[in-house]
Every structure is written in C-alpha cells, then in structure tokens.
C-alpha cells in the first residue's frame, strides 16, 4: 500500500510543481516590469485540488475503500446491462427515433436549434467514421468536404437559382469528387503521412474558398441562400401542388432528422456488407488484406468517397439551415472537433458516435459560461481518452469471432 502510494504521489507532486513552473511565466510576469505570484497560485491551486480529488478517488477505488458504494453500483450496472441486452436492438433504435420525432414538441426554438446542430454533426461524425473507424485512415481535413457540399449548394442556388432538392445530389457529387481528388494521390501513403497531407488538403480548400473572390466572395461569404422548398399537395381547388418554403425551424429539424437516420442506417449497412468487411480488414492489417485479395487502393478510395458523400449532404443541409456560408465555418478546428467526437464515442461504433456528438454539442451549450474553455477541454478529452479508454465510450463490437477467441 505504502509502496503504491509512493509510486503514484511522487510523480504527481513532481508533475504539479512542473505545472506551476509552466504557468507562472504566462500568468505572473507582466509587461510593466512586475512579477506576481498570487494569480498563478490561485489557478494552480484549483487544478491541484481538482486533480488531487480525482486521484484520491482513484486510489480509494483501487484500495477497496469505495466498495460499499462501488459494489452495489457495479451490480446495478451489470443487471441493467443484462436487461438492456435482453431488449432487442431494434427497440432501442425505435425508441430513440420516436423520442427524436417528438422532440420539437417539448423543445423551444433554442433547443430545436441545438438538436439540428447535433443531427448535422452526427452525419459528419458518421461520415468521418467510415474513414477513421472502419478503414483506419486518419483524415484531418474532413471538414473540407463539408465545406465543398455547403458551397456547392450556396453557389448553385445564388448563381443559377437552382432549388435545394436539385442541388443536393450536386453537393454530394462535388464532395465525392473532392474526396476522389484528395484520395487519389494521398492513399499511397500510410498513417502519419496521410494525416498531415489531408490536413494540408483541407487547408488548401479553405484557402481557395477564402481567396477566390470572384467565385466565393472570399471571407465575406455568400449571403441569401434559399431555404428548402417543397411542393405540398393542396386539395382546396381540386388536386394541385403548392410551393412552400420550409423556413420553420421544426420542419427543418425533421428534414435533418431524416438525413441523420438515412446516414446511420446507410453506414450500418455499409459496415456489415462485403465492403465494410474489406474496410475493416484494411484497418487491421493492410498487407494481409491485400494478400487475401482485397483491392486495397480501390477500397480506400471508396472509403474516402463515401465519407465525403455524407459530408457533402450534411454541408448542403448546413447551408440551407444557416442560409449563409463563409470559410470561417470550415477551419481545422472544426475537423478536430468532429474527430474528437468520433474518438470520444468510439471509433467504428455508430451508437458511440451518436453519444459522442450529443455529449460534445449539448454539454458546451449547458455550460455556456465556460465557453472559452471548450476547445481546451476537447483537447484534454482526446489525450485522456487515448490514455485511459482508447476504444471510446461505447466501443465498437468486432464482427465475427477471431479464431483465437472461439477456441477459448
């Protein structure tokens, strides 16, 4: 016990002193030639107390002092788990969808707005999941495809006056094209190189959006994009169709909900198809996959194109929702945020990603006064998840059984 105590507290103490040394020059040295300690000390003390409390809890749990709370909790969790698994999977899905359908009845305008955001990010997260989670290709410029989709709708609509539903396939097509263009040269690379090159491509696309004044109106963005229009049947004077703008937020919410459901089921089906198995084999071992006859290049390119496809769709919906696009919305930080959602929820796991997106969109809205700390916490979350739970909150289930598992 004492040994273990020493093993944890010694590095912790050194680490905290180290942190003080790092914080003090940033907080305590002022340009008017004065040095102060108290503000640094205050900030440092908060961090110290918070992290020490976490560490104490961890130690207490390890030492068995929390068994009187932990054991009943654990038993409750496992019994809930067994009961939850007893309920068939589809009833969860139906429950979630029904809940989502009735959400606008309870939520006000603001709540619906947040929900729309969640749904759009679910599409993005699931699309990125094809690349990162299924195929193992880390893409750091993913948001560029979203941008391409959004700008495709914005430009086709404002320049040629095309409606949303005609533009939607175009948005998806242009995003796929961008995916193919990015994917073709980069897919010969592996791992780290791919990550940095996709980051470069993402920046190139953003810079083009930012600098090509004649086409995209540069940093000012494009204003006055039409909302989604729809023809609804009217029965007043016989049977006619009437054009109708879906400007009401809750109507738009249902559209995005449909998109999110389409994305989730589409990706689910891709995942359990032959293609999905090929992707997973590439993720596990590319050389072995190639040996088994998987055309790795084609499948990796396909992963890119499919990921870009869903991002493009989401982009068109985003443009129709905001009715304004500017390069500001498609920075690297957005890519990092989507990636953080995927990592938090669990790479390759569809329910995990939905949970991750909901957590990372809704929690910052709840804790609005900590707005400035948002990205700080995102970054820390990524590091902590990688250190302690690399498979995410809801880890993906492996498909099939591995030969070494079956025997045991």
């Amino acid at each position: 016990m004492i040994q273990e105590f020493k093993k944890i507290w010694k590095p912790y103490t050194i680490g905290m002193l180290w942190l003080f040394g790092l914080l003090w020059p940033l907080l305590g040295v002022h340009a008017d030639g004065t040095m102060t300690v108290h503000e640094t000390f205050r900030v440092w003390l908060y961090i110290l107390v918070g992290s020490a409390a976490c560490l104490m809890l961890y130690m207490a749990k390890k030492g068995g002092f929390l068994d009187f709370v932990g054991d009943p909790l654990f038993r409750a969790r496992s019994s809930i788990q067994t009961r939850a698994f007893a309920i068939p999977n589809w009833s969860w899905q139906v429950g979630l969808i029904v809940l989502a359908c009735f959400l606008p009845l309870f939520a006000d305008r603001y709540g619906t707005d947040v929900a729309i955001n969640v749904l759009i990010y679910i599409c993005l997260g699931l699309g990125l999941n094809i690349m990162v989670g299924l195929c193992g290709l880390l893409d750091l410029g993913y948001i560029a495809f979203y941008g391409v989709g959004a700008y495709a709708y914005a430009l086709l609509n404002t320049v040629y006056g095309m409606g949303f539903w005609i533009c939607l396939p175009f948005s998806a097509f242009f995003a796929c094209l961008a995916g193919a263009i990015v994917g073709y040269p980069t897919l010969r690379m592996r791992g780290d190189y791919l990550a940095i090159v996709t980051l470069g491509f993402g920046e190139i696309i953003r810079l083009i959006l930012n600098n090509w004044m004649e086409l995209t109106n540069g940093p000012n963005g494009i204003l006055g994009i039409d909302a989604v229009g729809m023809y609804l049947p009217v029965f007043e004077n016989g049977f006619t169709f009437e054009h109708f703008w879906m400007k009401k937020l809750y109507l738009f919410y249902y559209l995005v909900l449909a998109l999110a459901i389409f994305t989730a089921y589409g990706i689910r089906h891709l995942n359990i198809s032959r293609t999905g198995r090929a992707w997973e084999s590439i993720r596990e071992d590319e050389t072995a996959a190639e040996l088994m006859g998987v055309n790795t290049f084609i499948y990796k390119l396909l992963a890119y194109i499919m990921g870009a496809f869903f991002a493009g769709l989401a982009g068109a919906f985003f443009a129709a929702r905001m009715r304004f696009v500017s390069p500001e919305s498609f920075t690297f930080l957005e890519s990092a945020m989507v990636l953080c959602m995927v990592v938090l929820g669990g790479m390759g796991s569809i329910p995990g990603i939905i949970l991750g997106v909901a957590a990372l969109i809704v929690l910052p809205e709840v804790f609005r006064e900590f707005e400035n700390y948002r990205m700080l916490i995102f970054g820390a979350t990524m590091v902590i998840m990688m250190l302690f739970r690399p498979a995410g909150l809801i880890p993906a289930k492996r498909m099939g059984t591995r030969s070494d598992e079956r025997e045991g």
Partner: protein, 303 residues
C-alpha cells in the same frame, strides 16, 4: 535582379526559421517515429515567452540601455521554457502510448496541440500580442536592396544554432547516444543508453530550437498570436518530409527550400496563395519521392 536578391534574403530568413522548427519534427520522428503535432505549439509558446521576457525587461527599463543583453536573455528563457514544456508534454501524452497503436499516439498528440494552443489563448488573450522589438529596427541599404538588422540577426543566429546542433549530434557522446537510440532502442539499452532520457532530451532540444524560431518570428512580423504555431508547423513538417524525415541535414535543407519557395511564390505568382505552395510541395514529394531529398528509409516499419 535587385528584386530577386531582396526576395532571396527574405527567403533565407524565413527558410532559416522553418529549418529550426523542422529539426524538432525530424529529430522526434527519428527517435520515436511519431509526428509531434504539438511541435507548432512549442514554437508559439517560445514566441510568447520571448514577448513576455522582453516586455518585462522593457518595463524595468533595461531594454533601452542593454538591448542585446535583453534579447539574449529572452532567447535563453524561451528556449529553456519550451524545453521544460516539451519534456512535460512527452511524459504525459506520449510516453504511456509508446507501445500502443500509431493512431492513438497521433490523436493524443493532436489533442495536446489543441490543448496547448487554447491554454495559451486563455492565459495570454485572443488578440495579437505586440512584440516589444522597436529597438532592433534599422537596415542596411545596398542600392535598392534593403537588409534589416533583424534579418541579419536571424540568419546569423540560425546558422549558429544549426552548426551547434550538428556538432552536438555528430561530434559528442550525447549525439552518438541519440543516433544509437534512433537506430535501435533495444540495442542501445544494452549498451547502457537510457532511452527515456534520450527521448526527453530530443524533445527538449527540438522544442528549444522551435522556441528560438518563435522569437525570431515574433520579432520579424511584430506580433505573436496563440494559433500562430499551426501553419508554420505544417510548413516545417513539409520541410522535414522534403528533406527526408529523420534526417537532420535534410530538415535544414528542406526548411530553406520551403522558405525560398514561399517567398518567391508570393513575390512572383500570388501572395494570397503563399501558404498553398508548401502544401503542394509536401504532397508532390510524398507522391513522387516519399523518401525525401536525403532519402531516409520509409517502409511499413517506419510509417
């Protein structure tokens, strides 16, 4: 012609800074095969600490009397601070993941990068921090070619640091230990080289060089910003890849080439797309000659 020479000097200045940053990437990659995404943040942190030190000293009034001494102090403090920061980051975010998959380490590095840049934003503010460097203004005029004192200072200091690093890596026992660790950690452990210490040292040296580049960047452009590490970080990475990642001489050469291309591209083609040239070079190099100019080995075991 004068325009060409002017651009050449500008390119040399910028390229030197990129070379200093690229060295950190390439050294870390050489030793643990990880792209240290947070390296750009070390560069920005160096710029900030330099600004803070210079601001403090000018607040005390020393800047006006001993500018060179103050600048040296700023360099020393910033380099020490970033070395200290880098060792801490390595211990927290990279060391526990050394045995895990590449993706885990890469994501951890990315998270650390976001964390650090936002930490700087929270402590130092969202807006540009003006660099207190007005005493280093002034320039030599050769006809129409103007070379500022700052540019000379940057070029000379960069050259000194690069020579110093080369001496360290190729002429001393420590350098030999670093090269041995890069080649084979198990074997070097057998001959009593502590690989953990060497890895920490590599991070510290790389971050120190990046910090020096950060101060130069701040002085050259007149201000620093919390997210300034991002774009120069990618460009420096491009430089490291161009030179052949893991290769120190290659990184220096790559940095100079990227700096030149950027300056000439901005001067002769389009200044709006100056950031794009480095990315295009990066993609081109990786596509056509992924081993880079100096040709380090890149196969399944390394990438």
């Amino acid at each position: 012609m004068e325009y060409f020479i002017q651009q050449f000097v500008n390119g040399l200045t910028l390229g030197g800074m990129y070379a200093l940053i690229a060295l950190g990437y390439t050294m870390v990659y050489g030793v643990i095969q990880l792209i240290n995404f947070a390296h750009g943040e070390f560069f920005a942190a160096g710029g900030y600490v330099g600004a803070i030190t210079l601001g403090y000293l000018s607040g005390l009034g020393y800047m006006q009397t001993h500018p060179v001494l103050c600048l040296s102090a700023a360099f020393v403090f910033a380099m020490a601070y970033c070395a200290y920061l880098a060792v801490g980051v390595e211990k927290i975010a990279y060391k526990p993941l050394r045995k895990e998959s590449r993706l885990a380490a890469l994501l951890s590095a990315l998270g650390m990068s976001i964390f650090l840049s936002n930490g700087m934003m929270l402590t130092q503010g969202v807006y540009d921090k003006i660099y207190p460097g007005e005493m280093f203004q002034g320039r030599f005029d050769f006809g129409t070619v103007a070379i500022s004192y700052l540019q000379i200072m940057i070029i000379v200091l960069t050259a000194l640091l690069l020579v110093g690093l080369n001496l360290l890596v190729f002429r001393t026992k420590i350098g030999m230990a670093m090269r041995a660790t890069a080649q084979d950690k198990t074997m070097s452990a057998l001959v009593a080289i502590g690989s953990n210490k060497i890895i920490s040292l590599t991070f510290a040296i790389g971050a120190g060089l990046a910090a020096a580049a950060g101060i130069m960047y701040g002085l050259y452009y007149g201000s620093v910003r919390y997210d300034m590490g991002f774009i120069p970080g990618i460009k420096a990475f491009a430089a490291a890849v161009l030179g052949g990642i893991g290769n120190i001489t290659g990184a220096m050469l790559g940095g100079l080439i990227i700096g030149m291309v950027e300056v000439f591209g901005a001067g002769y083609f389009s200044s709006e797309y100056k950031d794009v040239f480095a990315f295009i070079i990066l993609i081109g190099v990786l596509y056509f000659k992924p081993t880079g100019i100096m040709g380090e080995n890149i196969d399944d075991t390394r990438v």
